[in-house]
C-alpha cells in the first residue's frame, strides 16, 4: 500500500471531535488557510495515527486541523482553517 492512500475522511473524526464540540464539525464547511478551498470537514483527508489525528485539505494537502490526546489533555490546532461554518438548523 502506498503511503498516500493511508488516509480516511474527515468523517471518521466525528467521535474524537465530539469530545470537544457540541455540534457536528464533520458536516461544517471549512476554508483552507493555504489554498482557499472551501469544503465540508468530512471531505478532508484524515490521518489517524496515534496519539492523534491530522486532517489535511483534500485539494492541497496542507494541514487543516491537528488533535492530540496526551496526559489527559486534548490539544487542538485549527490554524489551517480560516473559518468553519456550522449549520445550526
Amino acid at each position: 500500500m502506498s503511503s498516500h492512500m493511508d488516509y480516511l475522511d474527515g468523517n471518521a473524526a466525528a467521535g474524537e471531535l465530539s469530545k470537544i464540540f457540541v455540534m457536528d464539525v464533520t458536516a461544517a464547511e471549512g476554508r483552507c488557510a493555504h489554498c482557499g478551498a472551501t469544503k465540508r470537514f468530512a471531505e478532508a483527508h484524515l490521518y489517524m495515527h496515534a496519539p492523534g489525528v491530522v486532517a489535511r485539505c483534500a485539494d492541497c494537502e496542507h494541514v487543516l486541523l491537528r488533535l492530540v490526546n496526551v496526559h489527559q489533555r486534548v490539544l487542538l490546532d485549527v490554524r489551517g482553517m480560516t473559518y468553519l461554518s456550522l449549520d445550526t438548523a
Binding site: L8, N11, A12, G15, V22, R40, A42, M48
Partner: protein, 247 residues
Amino acid sequence: MGRLRWLVGTVVALHDETATARTITLEVPDWPGHLAGQHVDVRLTAPDGYSAVRSYSIASASNSERRVELTVERLPNGEVSPYLTQEVAVSDRLELLGPLGGWFVWRAQQPEPIQLIAGGSGMVPLMAMIRSRAAAGSTAPFRLLYSVREPGAVFYRDELQTRSDRDRSVTLAYAYTRAAPKDSSRPPGRIDAELVAEATWPSKLGPTCYVCGPTPFVEIAAGFLSACGNRPDKIKTERFGPTGGKK
C-alpha cells in the same frame, strides 16, 4: 442537539452475514435515532482498564425500538473485530458513542436519484440507506453497484434481492473481483471506467453518489464517477483504513 455521551447497548441478536462478518443487534434505551449513513464509536474496556475504540457503520434504519444494528467484518490481527465477530454473546453490553457524522448521510427528503457504490464491507452504511428508503416510503430511485470478492462475501444478499424484486426503483449490480458466479456476464476483476459508466445513473440526472469502501477502492470509484461527469460535491465518500477498520 446536546453533547454526545457514551451509551450502553445490550446485544439482543447475532447473525452471521458471511464466514467473516457478523451483524450485532443492540438495544440502546437512550438511543436518539440516527440518519442512514452514520456511524458509532464502540469502546471495549478490558478488566485492567485498557480500552480500544473503533468506528462501525450502522446497518439499520432508525426505528422506534431503539435498536441499532452493526455489521462487523473480522480483520486478521484485529484488536476489536475478532471479539465482536466471535466472542460477543446475547445479553452482553457494549459502550457506544453516536450517532456520528452528518455528511455521509441520506435523508428521506432527498428526491434525486441515488447511486450507491460499495467495496466489500463498505456495503454497511449503504444498506442503512436502502432500508431507510423503504422505512420512510421514499420513491427516490436507487442504484447499487457492489464490488465484492466472491459470491460468498456478499452481505445481506437475500434481503437485497427481495427489496429489489419488490421495488423496481431499487436496482442491483454486482462486480466480483476474485470469483464470479457462472451466470455472471462479466469475468472477475476490479471495477473499471466502463462498468461504472454502464452501471451508474447518467450524470445529467443529477444523482447524489455515496461511495464506501477501502481507501484505494473509494479513490478509484470516485474518480470514475467524476470522469462520468458527476460533480465533486455530489460524490460523498467514506473510506476505511488499509486494514479495513476505520481507525
